[in-house]
């Protein structure tokens, strides 16, 4: 990666990027990801509480990236998808452990722990979630 990222900004996102920790509004029951500290629907009546996403969802839409952003050249072609989580929030994430031609809209996916980027050869490695096809039903 070309840029030296702020250590503090990477560190602050560890709970959400590693474990899917986020927030929800107890007033309307909506779940957010990434975390919000204010419910845009309930506004003054917001009652924000922590919750952790299940990590499961389905592919709502996707695109295949052939011209990679710096740092992702070894991975082309790769898939960036909008994933709708079981709890409702939609988020953009890279898919892994799947070939672009095998991706389908509606495909069930789950969070996998992967390297996201690294700050050159001597900097911090940034870990987080990507989504992969569900291997077998987890009980």
């Amino acid at each position: 990666m070309p840029h030296r990222k702020s250590l503090a900004s990477i560190w602050r996102r560890i709970p959400q990027r590693y474990r899917g920790e986020s927030t929800m509004c107890l007033n309307c029951g909506r779940h957010f990801f990434p975390p919000r500290h204010f419910c845009p629907y309930c506004r003054r009546k917001s009652k924000i509480a922590p919750y952790t996403i299940s990590g499961r969802g389905k592919v709502m839409s996707y695109t295949v990236v052939h011209v990679a952003q710096e740092g992702f050249e070894r991975q082309v072609p790769y898939v960036i998808a909008i994933v709708e989580l079981e709890e409702g929030p939609k988020l953009t994430a890279q898919l892994c452990a799947v070939e672009p031609e095998d991706v389908r809209i509606g495909m069930p996916v789950e969070m996998s722990f992967r390297r996201i980027s690294e700050d050159k050869d001597d900097g911090i490695i940034h870990y987080g979630y990507k989504f992969s096809p569900i291997l077998s039903p987890k009980k």
Partner: protein, 342 residues
């Protein structure tokens, strides 16, 4: 007595066949396949490393055990391919599974046996009531110098064990270790690839240590080999463990389930833990498992494990990962393993 409360495996889905590597270096694939008893090996994705493999295995172990990760008081990750020279893999894994912050953690390194050394540490901590649960992981994305014999076997994978005293699915009845300074394989600080003593890795290293630890365990625990239903030996290739079993009079049937190297390669610190996981996937209550690791440099840890009635179905068995494959060409493999500089 400390035992296994839960376990989990992970193997990356990429594979490269012996033929594909042999072709590049002008070698005879059939003689390598026969000589090493190996067909193909696993290769990590570009975005996978020891930390991601250890995390996936640990998550599977937690899911199997059904325990609160906050009950884990110690996390040890054994590997010879930690992504950082200084910065603990164990802290990232522990953070990812929500075991932090009240716990101890460290990375282990002892060539291929760092994972079983981690299991022993967790056993001692559990038995001495220092922690309720300990998490021991062996995981690697091992390195083989292009063109070297190791390139055919150096693979990626790992397994995680939650060690505790409550509701164990298998009890570790005895453990025994055998360690000497034997220079059979090493990687100096700052070097990208390991070097090895070729045939010296056999008799004075692998065979001496694995056999001594195994025989020591039998004597210490008062076991006979016949009592064990399954045997798992470290498997740097597909040939060494079979040769040792023959010498010790162990029927090959007992070795078969835990012998994964012919299809996935040598997962180094992950090898014995993964072999044991494959056995636990099918073991029944009351059955006995003998597992002996080997780490170059050199040492072996041997374990006598009795399966309890708490054993239950693993939703993510080793075979599920072993049979999930996507084949790479040598060029793609070189890109994956960063043998091509960009």
């Amino acid at each position: 007595m400390a035992g296994i409360v839960g376990y989990g495996a992970y193997i990356p889905r990429y594979r490269i066949k012996v033929e594909e590597i042999a072709k590049v270096w002008g070698k005879d694939a059939n003689s390598i396949k026969k000589g090493l008893n190996i067909q193909e090996k696993s290769v990590p994705a570009v975005d996978e490393d020891t930390i991601t493999i250890a995390t996936e295995a640990a998550r599977n172990a937690l899911s199997y055990a059904g325990i609160d990760p906050q009950g884990i008081g110690a996390v040890y990750v054994g590997s010879e391919s930690h992504p950082y020279a200084v910065k603990p893999s164990a802290a990232t894994v522990a953070e990812a599974i929500n075991a932090t912050p009240v716990m101890t953690a460290a990375d282990y390194e002892f060539a291929c046996k760092a994972g079983t050394a981690a299991i022993q540490t967790c056993m001692a901590m559990v038995d001495s009531n220092m922690v309720r649960y300990g998490l021991a992981i062996g995981a690697d994305t091992s390195q083989g110098r292009p063109g070297d014999a190791l390139e055919y076997t150096a693979a990626a994978g790992g397994a995680a064990y939650i060690i505790g005293k409550e509701d164990t699915i298998a009890n570790i009845e005895a453990t025994y270790s055998f360690t000497t300074d034997t220079p059979d394989f090493w990687r100096r600080a700052g070097q990208e690839y390991p070097r090895h003593g070729a045939r010296f890795t056999g008799e004075p290293a692998y065979f001496k240590h694995v056999r001594s630890a195994t025989e020591g365990l039998l004597e210490k625990g008062g076991y006979s080999l016949d009592e064990f239903d399954y045997v798992v030996f470290h498997q740097p290739n597909g040939k060494f463990p079979i040769r040792l079993a023959k010498r010790m009079g162990i029927p090959l049937e007992k070795l078969k389930v835990g012998l994964l190297t012919p299809m996935i390669g040598n997962t180094y610190s992950g090898a014995t833990p993964l072999g044991l996981a494959a056995v636990l996937d099918i073991a029944k209550p009351g059955e006995m498992i003998l597992a002996t690791s080997f780490g170059s440099g050199a040492g072996s840890d041997s374990f006598a494990i009795r399966v309890t009635e708490n054993i239950h179905k693993n939703e993510r068995p080793v075979q599920m990962y072993a049979s999930r494959t996507k084949y790479l060409s040598y060029g793609e493999y070189a890109k994956h393993r960063r043998k091509i500089r960009m």
